[in-house]
């Protein structure tokens, strides 16, 4: 039956995007639109003792300058500012709330003008007087202040003792610097105030999250606030929490009673969330046979002074490797910076990087092939919970990935492979992420002309959600995909969680299946009501919708066209709304896995690194769309190259400021840095994880990539670089 599911269907929104018909949060023009420009704090900590806006107000076209002193009223309690993904502990940042400065780049004023350039000019004429306070922005310098937080991973046995008596030991620290998301689309919000009702176009991964947040911050009733985000030019986690520009846009709109747009500049986006700089310490002890006896993983990560953000960095070893003794610890250091946040595969991108580099070092110490070591330590059960997986084809990922890469031709000795002036290195790593499902509701409206509209409040952040939803709906309703329209990104649509954690595909598609089943039931009822109905004695599970017909699964000749059934019952449309069923079942672990193989070529004298080949073999349940899935994983690999070699937010700790707040100096890979990337999807049927066997693909593509490259650099050069990014001066000793 599945003719669309699993196929390489092109994006149904592709045409709208390439023609410019697709509009983004900063592109909704309304009559009388006012443009806001943000004035940021020049210092990272202290108080505002004076703001002189007179110079700004003199600029032609400027309407007003909002500060904490003259802004419209906002809620004064923390709960009002807690969105769906706010940290459990702490006080969420309140934009333009009071005179306190909590981080560099914090918005302190909003210039409102008739046009963008006037607002920008005026912003440079706002004079702010500060009372500075001592600040801290350096994780390494503040390391002693780290405090432990609760992690779900419980210790087993005595890891320290087992490590001490292990035949082969490896212990080391790894470091990942602060990284920023840098989505192509700038953060923007357009707020339209209309007599007590608020409509907001926002760049967000969760329209209902923003809607609920704005209701709290501005004490508004839910039906008075509508948030829309039909398209998004990249989110990567930066758009999970409501960002400050949406509050500023609404403040402006309320103050002026006019529509207001606030669009951030690239530089201003470096004062939003980020992947926290993290120190990871691994201690692995193995017996002489090459299996793990002891595994200790500790992380120290950055958060703000006012919230405690943390993700699972340290628990991934429990999912990959057997070890009778294990200990996990996650610590935080509070700095005078914005709160860190989710960024693609939060916790795993960093934690698995360290774990998989440590495993590589252990393999070297054991004189064992890195793939072989992983197979020796392979765990068929989640070690922490001691439960099996719904499915785990990681062995097959290793096998297929290694075969495609040609791993068997690898010479074990570092510096043993060469291509002219370049040293060649082959490295590998495992990847792991969660296969989550969240409650979601989908509405289907089927009309008698054979068209269906499928709607939920999800956001398509560029991953292809529109397309996979249309594919699943087309198959479930037995209609051509061109007859399906998908509506997303509107808070008034049926409930849907944030687009994050790789859970949207499984959540929404299973909800579509349930809703389609309800539609099928309605159609069957109508068909049964027809004279001499060939489906008179059929039950809903005995029929399917195919080729525009309701068809008996037992006897395909017994069928009723959908249109006939609806006409006979005088039904112009069938509207159904159902949710997915999120399993409470804790008897199985739900994860996706990957094996990443990388080839680097390193100029022996100059240290210049080229990543010439990457193979990423992924087992992630049912793949809904080979084309978008391939792009998704390929994008993850590219980002992994950046994480390994390029990305680093540079701070000058004296000033507490980001010094490379632009995409010329904050390096991400360009085409020249990216060569052959092969993506393999390993078959992984899974009837336990959810009815459609979907596991999600958003995060897994990046996990393990930086480790595979770092391990390849070691294999090429014999030099182990443990702090990212691996720049040429870390590989070669020049002086």
């Amino acid at each position: 039956m599945a003719s669309y599911i699993g196929s390489a269907t092109s994006r149904i929104d592709g045409r709208a995007k390439v023609t410019g018909e697709a509009r983004y949060a900063g592109e909704f023009n309304v009559p009388g639109l006012v443009h806001g420009y943000v004035v940021e704090s020049a210092i990272p900590k202290g108080r505002v003792v004076g703001i002189d806006t007179s110079g700004a107000l003199e600029v032609d076209g400027v309407i007003d300058v909002l500060t904490h002193r003259n802004r419209p009223p906002m809620a004064d309690n923390d709960d009002a500012y807690k969105d769906e993904v706010a940290t459990e502990k702490g006080s969420p940042y309140r934009p333009l709330y009071d005179d306190r400065i909590l981080f560099g780049g914090q918005p302190l004023a909003l210039v409102l003008a008739e046009d963008w350039e006037s607002a920008r000019v005026a912003a440079s004429r706002v004079r702010i007087e500060y009372q500075k306070e001592p600040h801290v922005t350096d994780l390494h310098a503040q390391r002693d202040t780290a405090f432990a937080i609760n992690t779900p991973e419980k210790p087993r046995g005595d890891a320290a003792k087992a490590f001490a008596s292990a035949a082969v030991r490896h212990a080391a620290e790894y470091f990942i610097p602060t990284e920023h998301h840098n989505p192509m689309e700038l953060f923007a919000s357009t707020a339209i105030w209309d007599d007590g009702r608020l409509t907001v176009y926002d760049k967000t991964q969760g329209v209902q999250n923003v809607q609920q947040y704005l209701c709290g911050v501005f004490k508004m009733k839910p039906d008075a606030v509508r948030v829309m985000s039909p398209y998004m030019g990249g989110g990567f986690g930066a758009g999970l929490r409501p960002q400050y520009q949406v509050v500023l846009a609404v403040l402006g709109a309320r103050a002026l009673k006019r529509p207001v747009r606030v669009m951030l500049t690239r530089a201003q986006m470096y004062a939003l969330g980020y992947r926290p700089a993290t120190i990871e310490r691994l201690a692995l002890g193995a017996n002489s046979g090459g299996t793990l006896d002891a595994m200790t993983h500790e992380a120290i990560a950055v958060t703000s002074q006012f919230e405690e953000f943390a993700r699972n960095d340290v628990g991934w070893g429990n999912l990959l490797y057997k070890s009778p003794n294990a200990k996990f610890e996650h610590k935080l250091v509070k700095l005078d910076v914005p709160t860190s946040c989710d960024m693609r595969a939060p916790g795993a991108a960093t934690g698995v990087y360290a774990l998989e580099c440590a495993m590589d070092e252990l393999a070297v110490a054991l004189k064992t092939d890195p793939v072989q070591l992983r197979l020796q330590c392979y765990s068929d059960r989640n070690q922490g919970e001691d439960i099996p997986y719904t499915s785990k084809q990681l062995r097959e990922c290793y096998r297929q990935g290694a075969a495609a890469f040609g791993w068997d031709k690898r010479k074990a000795e570092p510096r043993s492979m060469r291509d002219g002036s370049e040293l060649v290195g082959w490295g590998m790593a495992s990847g792991v992420w969660e296969a989550l499902q969240m409650p979601a509701t989908v509405r289907i409206v089927l009309t008698a002309n054979g068209h269906a509209e499928v709607a939920t409040a999800a956001s398509d952040i560029g991953t292809g959600t529109y397309t996979i939803m249309a594919q699943v709906a087309a198959d479930m309703l037995g209609l051509p995909i061109d007859n399906i329209s998908v509506k997303l990104g509107d808070s008034t649509l049926p409930q849907c969680p944030l687009e994050g954690g790789s859970w949207i595909a499984s959540s929404v598609c299973n909800a579509i299946a349930n809703t389609a089943r309800a539609v099928r039931g309605d159609l069957l009822k109508l068909a049964k009501g027809m004279k001499d109905s060939p489906l008179a004695d059929a039950s809903v599970d005995e029929v399917a919708l195919m080729d525009g017909k309701i068809v008996s699964k037992r006897d395909a000749s017994r069928a009723v066209p959908i249109a006939s059934a609806m006409h006979s019952g005088n039904a112009e449309r069938i509207t159904r709304e159902e949710a997915n069923k999120v399993a409470e079942d804790k008897s199985h672990a739900r994860n996706v896995h990957s094996a990443v193989f990388a080839e680097v070529k390193v100029d022996e004298e100059l240290g210049v690194i080229r990543v010439t080949r990457v193979v990423n073999a992924v087992a992630a349940g049912r793949i809904l769309n080979l084309k978008t899935a391939h792009s998704q994983v390929m994008g993850g690999v590219v980002w992994g190259i950046g994480m390994a070699l390029h990305e680093e937010t540079l701070f000058d700790h004296r000033f507490g400021r980001v010094m490379n707040a632009n995409i010329a100096e904050y390096h991400v890979p360009v085409n020249a840095d990216v060569h052959d990337i092969e993506v393999i999807f390993v078959e992984e049927p899974d009837e336990i994880v959810n009815p459609l066997g979907i596991k999600g693909l958003g995060e897994i593509g990046i996990v393990g990539v930086a480790a595979a490259i770092a391990n390849a650099v070691y294999h090429a050069t014999g030099k182990r670089v443990r702090d990212l990014p691996i720049t040429l001066d870390k590989v070669v000793q020049f002086n």
Binding site: G420, S421, G607, L645, L650, A664, E665, D673, N735
Partner: protein, 338 residues
């Protein structure tokens, strides 16, 4: 940002006249650097005089056997010009290793010479910077200085000149033609950019009321034995950590003439006649290249994050000279360094 008026100059004389009447005016050609600087509040001209339409777009042979390049020739057009590709491939390669295709399409030859440093602190108006605000101090000396200079620095400034094109022009001994109220004059490229000294706010010896009209290349283009090698933190679209322009005239394997210039290491393209002299008459081999490198890097000083540049530059010089001697210049499409 400061609002500005816009005016178009009709010819060179008109441009000179317009700039003379308004000391806070600036010329704009491609705008690939100036517009950024205006947005960042680093520059605040109240008047932009658009010189992009001036009739300075030709690339023509000179009677002396060289080539005269109009100041408004876009970087892309220059790099792909048959005369440049054939006779001065070092210049073509250097241009193509800079910026991105879109930027090269917009950027002019004259503008490339007067682009300003990429020092992080120059762009961040909340931090002290002597180049941006004389007397305020240099934040880079004790700050994030991975991209900063190791040669010709002063206590006031350790910024680098970011151009690739100028490194090749320095090696080729180009001459800058300028025009001003007092008439025209020429400046050797070596004398065009300044060292920071106590006046880092002045990047060049061009007077504020002067305009660049052309770049002249001498006849010798070193088209047989040359290479431009740019080392950076990613393989394209990044400024040089170190770049090397090397050009040799060989007689067998004996060096008759040599040119050597560095980018990414100083406030100007870095050359030393002594380093070139030591190569002349020598066999083109590693020991000769090492001697030249040592002379060219004499007095180099690191400031912490950029210490590695000294050793990197030495190896890059040797590699580039070897590429030039072999007649196998560094390719821009294949990033492998042979």
């Amino acid at each position: 940002m400061t609002p500005f008026q816009y005016a178009r100059a009709n010819d060179v004389a008109d441009a000179i006249k317009q700039i003379a009447t308004d000391p806070s005016a600036k010329f704009i050609a491609g705008g690939t650097n100036l517009i950024d600087l205006i947005k960042y509040d680093v520059e605040g001209p109240t008047r932009l005089i658009d010189i992009s339409h001036l009739p300075l777009r030709s690339v023509e042979p000179t009677s002396a056997g060289g080539v005269l390049i109009g100041a408004m020739v876009p970087n892309t057009d220059l790099a792909y010009h048959p005369m440049i590709e054939q006779r001065y491939p070092l210049l073509a390669r250097a241009i193509m290793s800079g910026a991105s295709q879109q930027l090269r399409n917009m950027a002019s030859t004259g503008g490339n010479l007067v682009q300003r440093t990429r020092c992080f602190y120059f762009y961040d108006t909340t931090t002290p910077c002597n180049k941006r605000e004389p007397g305020s101090g240099c934040s880079a000396i004790d700050g994030v200085n991975r991209i900063n200079a190791i040669l010709g620095t002063s206590e006031a400034c350790i910024a680098t000149h970011p151009s690739d094109m100028c490194v090749a022009l320095a090696a080729l001994e180009a001459t800058v033609h300028v025009a001003g109220p007092a008439g025209t004059r020429t400046i050797a490229l070596a004398d065009f950019h300044r060292l920071p000294g106590n006046t880092p706010q002045r990047d060049t010896n061009l007077e504020p009321d002067e305009i660049i009209t052309a770049i002249e290349l001498p006849p010798q283009g070193f088209s047989a034995n040359y290479s431009y090698l740019k080392i950076r933190d990613r393989l394209s679209y990044a400024f040089a950590l170190v770049s090397v322009a090397a050009a040799l005239e060989l007689d067998g394997d004996t060096i008759k003439d040599a040119r050597l210039a560095l980018g990414g290491v100083a406030h100007k393209p870095w050359r030393s006649s002594a380093a070139e002299t030591v190569l002349r008459g020598e066999r083109a081999n590693a020991s000769a290249f090492a001697r030249a490198a040592d002379i060219l890097l004499h007095g180099a000083k690191g400031y912490g994050h950029n210490n590695f540049k000294i050793g990197l530059a030495r190896r890059a010089i040797m590699r580039t000279l070897a590429q030039a001697a072999r007649g196998t210049p560094q390719s821009n499409s294949d990033k492998k360094i042979r």
